[in-house]
Symmetry: C2
Subunit: 116 residues, 2 copies
């Protein structure tokens, strides 16, 4: 059993092309012996965003705090806020943006452990 | 892509033996096309608990709100609170209890979709 508070997990800046003001944590993953899935946390600063991209595996998201939008395949922006769950299907283009001017946007992003 | 607010998801009482005052939701699961994992949410009322049991698959938990304890294999109680992540390994005995007298305890419980 592993128990860890989110504030105790190392935070690294996301250096991927197209990411701005985004930080990554890995509270539960393969190095903890997670058998199937990994739980990552992304924190997006005010005005920041994750890359607009797709990949062959899904995202299972839960918005922990803040308010933002997720851009879908067509370029449409859909609102998301704390307490929302999002399933991004494998191959589906997506991007998260923090639309707040004064609060961070923070979410869990679950993926198969091979892609953590 | 599926987006759903936790408050819009049906809630069912957990009827499993040993559960008291526990409610289950399934915001993202196999019926949504989730390829690998399912995200369930359990809400435990004041003084309530989940069963003390084990099973051959893991739990990946995130505490959304409240304060409680998780009972481990030895019977020891470890504190957990909003913002904590917990990995319960396959086969490891565990139980969540809400120790608050005035607030619910709510957590995400991720499992392989076959066991949702």
């Amino acid at each position: 059993m592993k128990i860890i508070a989110i504030d105790k997990v190392d935070k690294k800046k996301v250096e991927m092309e197209g990411a701005h003001g985004a930080w990554k944590q890995l509270p539960l993953g393969s190095s903890d012996g997670a058998p199937v899935y990994s739980f990552r946390v992304f924190t997006v600063e005010q005005g920041g965003n994750t890359p607009f991209h797709s990949h062959p595996y899904e995202h299972m998201n839960f918005i922990i705090e803040g308010q933002g939008v997720i851009v879908d395949e067509t370029g449409d922006e859909r609102s998301v806020k704390a307490g929302d769950f999002v399933l991004v299907n494998p191959g589906e283009k997506h991007q998260y943006k923090n639309i707040s001017t004064d609060k961070v946007f923070r979410m869990i992003c679950g993926v198969p452990k091979e892609f953590e």
